[in-house]
Amino acid sequence: MTNDKRTHIGKRVAQELLDGDYVNLGIGLPTEAANHIPEGRKVVFQSENGIMGVGPAPAEGQEDKDMINAGGGYITAVPGASFFDSATSFAIIRGKHIDVTVLGALQVDQEGNLANWMIPGKLIPGMGGAMDLVTGAKKVIVAMEHCDKHGNPKILKKCNLPLTAPHCVNLIITEMAVIEVTPQGLLLKEITEGYTLEEVLKATEAELIVPDSLK
């Protein structure tokens, strides 16, 4: 993914993280959002290996081998941070104490089903904390590229990969668009400047509800 796309998605995700929110960012693209939180807005980041209050990566040479996030990257802790064991960490997650989780996806469909952990026949790395996160967080945001690396749509009528959880996604943010999962289906909320409605529709297999304002 180009840096431009990455930055755009990160900035747009950051707008969804509100003052006072407790947030879990998945590995990879979702972590970009942490770099774009507006000044003065207090968002507290959890990492599921056992910390609330993740700070920026340490300066080179300042790494502490006992301070990592769930992706294995070195982190710091912000003032007010806490450490806890993994059962407590997932009590926080599963018990609906996390306001927003942001994850990547292999596929999302128009019922809000999410597939992001396994491709049958290929190596299966494991679901890690993803199933608990999408089951327990109050709001689930998928942050991803609109299409896969071959240009095939990832927003489908129906996921055909094994699900991470059914009916769990609330919002999809890509470089092309912002799409909300509603009881009526997928509602196109925004088209990124530089893209047309036709381009978004062509890159999306699922049916989109297009409001008049975007036609």
């Binding site: 910390i51 502490d64 006992d66 450490f83 009590a91 790395p125 199933m131």
Partner: protein, 220 residues
């Protein structure tokens, strides 16, 4: 009350086919000194319960590299090519478990419970073959407790009562695994000689700890 033993004595207690609940997350907070002694002793056909599969040459990776592992229950093994290869070749049997479910299943065993009810995994392949129980109108999966013979954990400091504190994110699954071993062996940086850990600050009460091994790892 705990006994102070060497890593070699710890390894000698563990027999082939033992079920081991192993602390750590991506090789942070793994009891490397004890793992080295197990590799040295060549204890094989082990069943390992762990959150991640760490890396080649680190944590559970040391056991895998030495072909000492027969089966695993883990939530993730994407960081260790050797375990992937041994799973793909059939040498290691694996069960992938959502991380929160894994922790609760381990904790349940340590807490004397038969299992837990969780919504995680409903509507996915994780639910296949499992009983669904409805409580107050909501469905949950019945997930059975995971038994272990030994818990091998890594803590920062112990006191003479066996109470433990951990260091930063090296705490991770360790306090949970500590509850679940029929025999729990903690590797620590030091045993406090002249003071006890403030009872308000104890993370793992000494009642869970049977043996302590001093770590050979340097900690800053």
């Amino acid at each position: 009350m705990f006994q102070l033993i060497s890593a070699e004595e710890a390894a000698a207690m563990i027999k082939p086919h033992s079920r081991i609940a192993l602390g750590g997350f991506l090789a942070v907070g793994t009891p490397e000194t004890i793992l080295d002694a197990i590799v040295e002793a060549g204890i094989n056909n082990l069943h390992i319960i762990a959150i991640t599969s760490d890396y080649i040459g680190k944590g559970i990776g040391k056991l895998v590299d030495a072909h000492l592992v027969k089966s695993v229950q883990v939530s993730h093994m994407g960081t260790n090519k050797n375990i992937q290869d041994q799973v793909n070749s059939g040498e290691i049997q694996s069960e992938l478990i959502p991380q929160g479910t894994l922790m609760e299943r381990v904790r349940a065993f340590g807490a004397g419970l038969g299992g837990v009810l969780t919504p995680t995994g409903l509507g996915t392949i994780v639910a296949e073959g499992k009983q669904i129980i409805n409580v107050d109108g909501k469905d949950y999966l019945l997930e059975p407790a995971i038994a272990s013979d030994f818990a091998l954990i890594r803590a920062h400091k112990a006191d003479k009562a066996g109470n433990l504190i951990y260091r930063k994110t090296a705490r991770n699954g360790n306090p949970v695994m500590a509850m679940a071993g029929k025999i729990t062996i903690a590797e620590v940086d030091e045993i406090l000689e002249d003071e006890y850990i403030d009872p308000e600050a104890v993370i793992t009460p000494g009642v869970f700890v049977n043996y302590i091994v001093l770590s050979k790892e340097g900690r800053k």
